[in-house]
């Protein structure tokens, strides 16, 4: 998404944080609403929200947000919670969380249980095939399946929000590229990290 790059270019200082900022900026853009209007009054992209701004201008481990209730050091330090492990992948038309992801899910549950101020979004996605609406429901089922796995480790619903993008961000050419599995995932994102 080009708009992420724009923000990161202007604000980014440290390379180390680049990846997390990109993700956070993505969230910020989603949060900013991107409201549709009549064609004539097409609106510019909303500026990042204040929290995001201060986050972005803060490259020393995000001290502004380091409260004991958030446990950011744990979130950033535990390899099981690392960003490249945030995708939980599913089989075609399925929404069962596979056993291989349980260790990661359990680690997130432990983190959430120990960090009452932390809030998580679970975004469900599907591959391109099938209809938009069914896939929206399927993505929702995947997000809820991950939530329920977290619930089973004692996490309260109040810390989790489930949303679905269905097939809206799926790769149109996944069949040709034999990569549809990459789109069949629930992604775990923290509201502040």
């Amino acid at each position: 998404m080009g708009s992420n790059k724009r923000i990161s270019k202007n604000k980014l200082k440290g390379n180390k944080l680049k990846k997390s900022i990109l993700l956070t900026a993505l969230l910020g853009i989603l949060a900013a609403g991107c409201s549709s209007t009549d064609l004539k009054e097409s609106q510019p992209l909303n500026p990042p929200q204040p929290e995001l701004q201060s986050m972005l201008s803060d490259d020393n481990e995000g001290t502004a947000f380091t409260s004991p209730d958030l446990n950011l050091l744990e979130l950033r330090g535990n390899p099981l919670l690392a960003k490249d492990k945030r995708g939980i992948y599913f089989d075609f038309n399925k929404y069962v969380v596979k056993q291989e992801y349980m260790e990661v899910v359990q680690a997130h549950a432990k983190y959430l249980n120990e960090s009452p101020a932390a809030n998580m979004k679970i975004q469900g996605n599907t591959d391109y095939r099938g209809s938009h609406e069914y896939n929206l429901s399927l993505g929702q089922k995947r997000a809820v399946a991950v939530k329920e796995a977290l619930n089973s480790f004692g996490v309260d619903d109040s810390q989790i929000e489930t949303i679905s993008y269905g097939k809206e961000y799926a790769n149109l050419d996944c069949v040709e590229q034999n990569s549809c599995g990459e789109d069949r995932r629930a992604e775990v994102v923290y509201i502040v990290e």
């Binding site: 998404m1 080009g2 989603l30 949060a31 609403g33 991107c34 409201s35 549709s36 209007t37 009549d38 064609l39 097409s42 992209l45 038309n93 391109y128 095939r129 099938g130 209809s131 938009h132 609406e133 069914y134 929206l136 429901s137 399927l138 929702q140 089922k141 809820v144 619903d157 489930t162 949303i163 679905s164 993008y165 269905g166 809206e168 961000y169 149109l172 050419d173 069949v175 040709e176």
Partner: protein, 429 residues
């Protein structure tokens, strides 16, 4: 004459939704024998500076798209008759034409023109329908569609859909979206909405004045209803969780919608003004893609209660649920014909996604398209044609039409646009 009677008879059988017959028709795929051969001559031009030749190509294209007509190549015919009195009927019989359309365009003033046309029955050797339309130069396509509608109704007994509108979503610059409307054949595209977030599930109100759709602009799917003429819109549903899959009741007073709250997709009813939300079906499974039967008594929908997605129906009076699709393991996206006798849906067949047509009386299923990645089939308001999305390997998504006899499949001229989820507007008089 005998042949013609047979064809009309075949047509009647087909439109009474005999899939058995449709299968027979399909077997002569590519054959012209099951289509009515018609010649559409270039309209004569009186006093026009502009090229009005396209009026006959509009008519040819309309009739051809329906799958019921075969537009003859008339390039070898050098003299265009002015009326049925000037017609060399034996010539047209040799060309195997059963009907002939002729016409003329007279320019009244600079901007206005009069289009006169006649439909001639070659076997009866007489004009069976004629008409006149006055319009502006830029209405030439609209007038052509009107002629096609008249001819279609006269020869098939069903209303034509050639002056109807469609809506579709266009994705551009990777992650931007437009909600567009256009003529049924893809011409005259107008954008109703531009958004940086996905738009899905556009649905015309039964009166054709409004479109309900789902937008992700509030970080999640919510449902809007937008007036086409004014561009004004209002939020219909923005409840906790996902709000999606709007389906207008036939009287336009209510919609079936899908809400998740904090769990999975369930079907609810809501008044068109946003009041009175009630849950229709309680299920642990996905229930989505509601669509009303034309009599308003039943709601067809997709559910995965048996594992893979299948189409079910819910009777609003008895609350009885029954399964509708049985062939294959993956059937979804139901769309009903105007008479409620035929059901369209997307099916997975040997790894390919195809448009399926099911006769709801015999439950016979016909695959209308070959895939590999088709989706989102919807009926034309007269039930004779289908709009659907297709994608060839390595290419972007396109919208096509396919006639329900399977004889004519054609793409809409939308260029390189990446398009999704067409919706076909109603016939407006």
């Amino acid at each position: 004459m005998k042949k013609f009677v047979y064809l009309i008879f075949a047509g009647l059988l087909f439109f009474s939704s005999s899939i058995l017959h449709a299968l027979e028709v399909i077997e002569i795929l590519g054959g012209k024998a099951s289509q009515i051969p018609i010649a559409v001559m270039p309209f004569k031009n009186f006093g026009a500076q502009n090229n009005i030749a396209k009026i006959n190509s509009v008519i040819k294209s309309d009739l051809g798209r329906s799958g019921l007509f075969y537009a003859l190549d008339t390039r070898g015919v050098t003299t265009t008759p002015n009326s049925d009195k000037e017609i060399n009927f034996s010539l047209w019989k040799t060309l195997e034409a059963q009907f002939l359309i002729i016409g003329r365009v007279d320019f009244i003033q600079e901007e206005k023109m009069k289009v006169s046309w006649s439909l001639i029955d070659i076997y009866k050797q007489q004009t069976i329908l004629s008409g006149e339309y006055v319009g502006k130069k830029n209405q030439i396509r609209a007038i052509g569609h009107k002629v096609s509608d008249k001819v279609y109704e006269r020869l098939t007994g069903s209303k034509g859909v050639f002056h109807t509108k469609i809506a579709f979503v266009e994705k551009y610059n990777h992650q931007k979206y437009k909600l567009n409307i256009a003529d049924y054949d893809g011409y005259n595209v107008i954008s109703l909405l531009d958004s940086k977030m996905p738009i899905i599930s556009p649905r015309w109100s039964p009166d054709g004045e409004k479109i309900a759709y789902v937008s992700f602009e509030k970080e999640k799917p919510v449902i809007y209803i937008q007036e086409i003429a004014t561009g004004k819109r209002k939020l219909l549903a923005n409840f906790k969780g996902n709000n999606s899959a709007p389906a207008w009741s036939p009287d336009g007073k209510r919609l079936a919608i899908v809400l998740t709250y904090s769990t999975n997709s369930q079907i609810y009813l809501i008044n068109a003004d946003g009041s009175d939300v009630t849950r229709l079906i309680r299920s642990r499974s996905i229930t989505t893609e509601p669509t009303w039967s034309p009599d308003g008594d039943e709601i067809y929908y997709t559910s995965n209660q048996g594992g893979g997605p299948q189409i079910y129906k819910f009777n609003l009076e008895s609350s009885e649920i029954s399964r509708v699709t049985f062939e294959g393991k993956y059937n979804l996206y139901p769309s009903l014909s105007y008479d409620g006798k035929l059901l369209l849906y997307l099916t997975q067949d040997q790894g390919k996604f195809k448009v399926a047509l099911q006769n709801l009386q015999s439950n016979q299923v016909l695959k209308l398209t070959k895939g590999p990645l088709d989706e989102a089939p919807v009926f034309s308001p007269n039930g004779h044609m289908v709009l659907f999305v297709y994608k060839d390997y390595g290419k972007t998504t396109k919208i096509g039409t396919v006639s329900i006899n399977g004889l004519k499949i054609e793409s809409l001229p939308l260029g390189s646009r990446q398009v999704q989820e067409p919706a076909w507007g109603p016939i407006k008089e």
